[in-house]
């Protein structure tokens, strides 16, 4: 990715010389500077485990070394210098991953100055990126960590058809956003269906209807296809030019000059990233009929929808979601606040899961993100009372491995498998009980939160010297 990058601003210098390098867009101009906090080997003994892949183990040992999970099994031996934790009566799970958060971009306190989550100035703002709105000192990050959240995707809001890029963060304290960015995680593109875009833009030139929404998506995908073609053509032309630039066949002057790179367009770069399969579409969409039409549109333009968010009617088209390998990121029981959320049911998540589709519990809330395990518990219970027969171990996939898969980090986190990052939560009891709390949270094997050790409880800059500093939260 980094090789042969010529800065766009220096293009004019590069044109027309026989030594011109091929222009490539830097796809990662704000690279992660994340480094794991210090850790020591940790062996948790005899805990009840939901491993994140759907399995449940009683009285298992989990070993973490050098930031990775190295073993999960029985009677594991502690390496030298390992901290040994008695997990008797406790539960161990992979860290929770929230795929729909506005932490940082709608930070606490919720005042005008901290509202940086929605660039509601145009139906297409694919050029913006949530990372540029994140305030790393949002106390919400610390609260979410105390709730067992080890990674999250921060999304722009849903006012626009194309809202901008979503960014995956590790839930660690940092002075900078780059210090939180999940290394190697792809960007997301936030899109939105239905009522929000037409409400926001209905009196501002449109779209003013769902018809307008779709016309707006499609016009922009057509532009994006053309933009992508211009770069594909440029690369092909450049390769051709390079192959013959020194040969005798290059007689004419114009053949000596390197092909000219297309003009950069930030908005189209994001959409092109989707068409190239590098950026994952995450679309706010409540109604089943709209999801079905979006799926057709994705086929029309050759991209894939990673997930529908909120998706309160996912249960009506769970088969369609399974067939298209599209996740639904849902609440357990929120709904009713607008017409497109009116058909909310409490069994949405388990019904999607039981249909074989990828179900995810999401928060979209600085309060809800602190107890996504509780949301999963409610959904699981309601599903089982409707006869769906889903195990607790399976239900944990809604919180870790399915989110990780959606975010493109499933090879790094989301399950307690040897080789994956040691993003782990030790719970005081069964996390599907309201009375259990996260006791210790590990990110890359480091103790980033410990309920019983103040020295492992981060306090945000904002809360220093305030009435709540260092209090139990």
């Amino acid at each position: 990715m980094i090789k042969q990058i010529a800065l766009a601003g220096a293009l004019s210098l590069a044109y027309g010389t026989a030594n011109a390098q091929m222009v490539e867009i830097d796809k990662n101009p704000f690279p992660s500077t994340y480094e794991p906090m210090p850790s020591q080997p940790v062996l948790i003994r005899g805990a009840h485990v939901f491993d994140g892949t759907g399995a449940e183990l009683s009285k298992a040992d989990l070993l973490m070394e050098n930031g990775k999970i190295t073993a999960l099994g029985e009677n594991l031996e502690a390496p030298q210098g390992a901290r040994i934790i008695d997990g008797t009566g406790k539960w161990v799970t992979p860290g929770i991953i929230d795929v729909h958060s506005h932490l940082g971009v709608y930070a606490s306190p919720g005042i005008r100055a901290t509202a940086d989550g929605n660039e509601a100035t145009n139906p297409n703002t694919a050029e913006v990126s949530s990372e540029h709105g994140v305030w790393p000192h949002d106390p919400g990050f610390n609260r979410a960590r105390a709730g067992g959240v080890t990674a999250l995707m921060v999304l722009p809001g849903s006012a626009n058809l194309f809202g901008g890029r979503g960014t995956v963060l590790k839930n660690v304290p940092s002075r900078t956003v780059q210090g939180m960015k999940f290394p190697g995680a792809p960007y997301a593109l936030k899109m939105a269906c239905g009522e929000n875009p037409k409400r926001v833009y209905g009196q501002k030139g449109g779209p003013g209807s769902r018809m307008g929404n779709f016309a707006g998506y499609r016009k922009n995908w057509i532009k994006a296809q053309a933009y992508k073609k211009s770069w594909d053509d440029y690369r092909a032309d450049y390769a051709k030019w390079e192959a013959k630039k020194d040969s005798n066949s290059a007689k004419k002057d114009k053949d000596k000059k390197a092909p000219k790179a297309p003009k950069r367009n930030l908005q189209m770069e994001t959409l092109m990233g989707v068409l190239n399969g590098e950026i994952i579409v995450n679309m706010h969409c409540y109604r089943a009929d709209e999801m079905a039409q979006v799926i057709d549109m994705s086929k029309e333009f050759g991209y894939h929808v990673g997930a529908f968010h909120h998706a309160v009617e996912a249960y009506k088209v769970a088969d369609l979601l399974r067939e298209n390998d599209t996740c639904a990121a849902m609440w357990a029981d929120w709904g009713g606040f607008k017409m497109e959320a009116y058909d909310s049911i409490r069994e949405n998540i388990p019904l999607v899961h039981k249909a074989g589709a990828c179900a995810i519990v999401h928060s979209d809330s600085e309060v809800g993100i602190q107890r996504l395990n509780q949301e999963a518990a409610k959904a699981l219970a309601d599903g089982n009372k409707a006869g769906l027969n889903i195990s607790q171990g399976e239900a944990w996939t809604w919180l870790s491995s399915n989110p990780a898969k959606l975010l493109g980090i499933g090879d790094k986190t989301g399950a307690l498998k040897p080789g994956l990052n040691a993003d782990v939560v030790l719970w005081s009891g069964n996390p599907f009980s309201v009375y259990s709390r996260a006791d210790i949270v590990f990110v890359d094997g480091a103790r980033v939160f410990d309920r019983h050790d103040k020295s492992h409880q981060a306090v945000s800059d904002f809360e220093l010297g305030q009435p709540g500093e260092g209090d139990e939260k």
Binding site: S108, M339, A381, Y435, E472
Partner: protein, 425 residues
């Protein structure tokens, strides 16, 4: 009754009625773990006997009359119905669709005179989905519009009975202080408190037909506020910052007759002893632990436990969306996980709200003579994975179906849609 007559008697109005008369019906709920919410505490393997809509007796050795309908609650929990201390259930169908939302009236000439009951729809979806989660009574209030006062709040049951589901009309008045009240009242906290103090004075002095020329409240608003000003009706005050709670306590000291209740109280724990001494109960959301505004910088999940420990009466609510009032038990469970005793947490969603609204002789506990709002649960009602098996309101067994359960049943099986199309299910 004329409008004036109606308002004149509002404070004394106590039109307590059970959801629907359950005439001559005797129900015996046997073998359950019974949470009485009284000095009797929790009883194992006990019977709750219901007759004619009231609780006849509760205990381990109750003789069951012949002909009684028996409900076997072995292995189950039997509790009083849950009571939402503050909600908008039944006032709002869809909050983003103004035509279905009667919770606000920004353009009305009236404030306190607005009668919440006039907006209440027992058939609203939120009523049924709240009921089937075990919540049998709801305190309901409109929200503030362009005035710090909301209209008159009321207490209803969740039976969905259009003819008769109001427990008490004109049960309380709500006022917005703190940041929001400041904005509405002209821009500052002093403006909001000055408006409130003046309004109470005007209401107290109000005589029909003899309105002061410089009065800020119109006649009907002053009339409606009169029972509050005279201490005959609770005034629910939205405040979060510790210093705002102290202002509230100063109001109590200056006007000790006022029946004040604090709502929100994110920083309540910082003045817990003072609130206890003033006898001001608190309606709160335990999950509120973020500095969501500059008036709640001290917010913590331990607020409920600290207030209760100091002797403050607490009631627990899930405020905001009408749809979510049913989530109060989860809030209560979270308070337990953060130090509140189970008994206090459960009381906070049953007997404490009844007490706040002066209904403790009718609701909130399981003992002889109480209205038979009874729920049979398949486990600990504060737990996440439990739910009601039976809900009784005024002794009447309730349907546990809702629009939501019907949608679920329609789409439970996506497989044979061709032979059995969804719309015909």
């Amino acid at each position: 009754m004329s409008i004036l007559g109606k308002f004149a008697t509002a404070g004394a109005l106590l039109c307590l009625a059970s959801a629907a008369p359950a005439w001559a019906q005797t129900i015996a709920i046997t073998g359950g773990k019974v949470i009485t919410n009284t000095a009797q505490g929790q009883l194992e393997n006990a019977t709750v006997l219901i007759e004619d809509g009231k609780i006849l007796s509760v205990g381990p050795d109750i003789a069951i009359p012949e002909g009684a309908t028996r409900i076997d609650a072995s292995g189950k929990w039997v509790t009083p119905g849950l009571f939402a201390p503050l909600s908008q259930v039944g006032l709002v169908e869809i909050s983003l669709e103004a035509s279905t939302d009667d919770s606000r009236a920004e353009k009305s000439e009236f404030s306190v005179a607005l009668d919440g009951v006039d907006g209440f729809n027992p058939k609203a979806e939120a009523v049924a989905i709240t009921k089937i989660e075990g919540m049998t009574r709801i305190a309901v209030s409109t929200g503030p519009g362009e005035n710090i006062f909301s209209g008159a709040g009321f207490i209803a049951d969740t039976s969905g009975d259009v003819v008769n589901s109001i427990t008490r009309d004109h049960a309380f008045v709500m006022v917005q202080m703190g940041e929001r009240g400041a904005r509405i009242a002209g821009g500052s906290r002093p403006a909001a408190w000055a408006y409130l103090r003046n309004a109470l004075t005007e209401a107290r002095q109000y005589r029909p037909g003899r309105a002061r020329k410089d009065a800020l409240l119109n006649g009907p608003d002053a009339m409606a506020l009169k029972p509050v000003a005279e201490g005959r009706m609770p005034l629910l005050v939205f405040v979060n910052r510790a210093s705002d709670l102290m202002t509230l306590i100063r109001l109590h000291e200056a006007q000790p007759k006022l029946d004040l209740v604090a709502v929100g109280a994110a920083e309540g724990w910082m003045v817990a002893d003072e609130l206890a001494a003033a006898g001001i109960p608190v309606i709160l959301e335990p999950q509120n632990n973020l500095p969501s505004s500059f008036e709640s910088l001290g917010a913590t999940m331990t607020n409920a436990a600290r207030l209760q420990k100091a002797g403050v009466t607490i009631a627990i609510a899930q405020l905001g969306e009408a749809f979510n009032a049913r989530l109060a038990p989860q809030q209560a469970g979270d308070a337990v996980a953060n130090g509140l005793s189970w008994d206090a947490a459960f009381a906070a969603i049953t007997s404490a709200p009844a007490q706040i609204f002066g209904l403790e002789d009718e609701l909130g506990t399981l003992q002889s003579g109480m209205i038979a709002d009874v729920v049979v649960w398949d486990g600990d009602p504060l737990e996440l994975m439990t739910s009601p098996d039976y809900v009784f309101i005024g002794g009447e067994a309730q349907s546990l179906s809702s629009r939501q359960t019907k949608l679920r049943d329609r789409y439970l099986d996506l497989k044979d849609a061709k032979e059995n199309p969804f719309a015909y299910r």
